[in-house]
Amino acid sequence: SQTIHQWPATLVQPVGSPLSLECTVEGTSNPNLYWYRQAAGRGLQLLFYSVGIGQISSEVPQNLSASRPQDRQFILSSKKLLLSDSGFYLCAWSVLRSEAFFGQGTRLTVV
């Protein structure tokens, strides 16, 4: 069966510090991978998606970047965090024409 792992679960980082959130998927090949953010009162906002290794598309301009170094690994990064980067970050995977499956999320607080 397929599983998705996302870590860490919570993170408190100072403004200006770097960020690296990792997500891995098991039990499937060549999935579509997604990073979403849930900010207060804004629902689930798609940040990045990837249809293959090294292929990253950004949905919104921001202070973040994403990378997919391996088929089932998706990384969300920032060189310098802003206060506005605080939120609940969710990794998800899907295969085309199926529902998406989410990880447990990372609560990021930038202080």
Partner: protein
Amino acid sequence: DQQVKQNSPSLSVQEGRISILNCDYTNSMFDYFLWYKKYPAEGPTFLISISSIKDKNEDGRFTVFLNKSAKHLSLHIVPSQPGDSAVYFCAARRVYGGSQGNLIFGKGTKLSVKP
């Protein structure tokens, strides 16, 4: 521009009654619709979906209705239970036509089911 809209941020119903959560969309190219349930500090979990070729899909206590002409879908939960209390997200995607099928989510509706 919000393509998927959930205009009610919250809903409160009595246990045993019906819960109806609504969702509207603007993009006529969407052809697959999903509902997710989310508890605090957890990832959303898939609940039920419907293809645009159908107008109803039922799974136990959950039924999703799709009105394509109105670009409207709704999730019915009956009977509602206290464990159904969560935030419900409506999502839509374009499956066919060369798109990779990204899910576009609404802002969510917080359902509270009172005993």
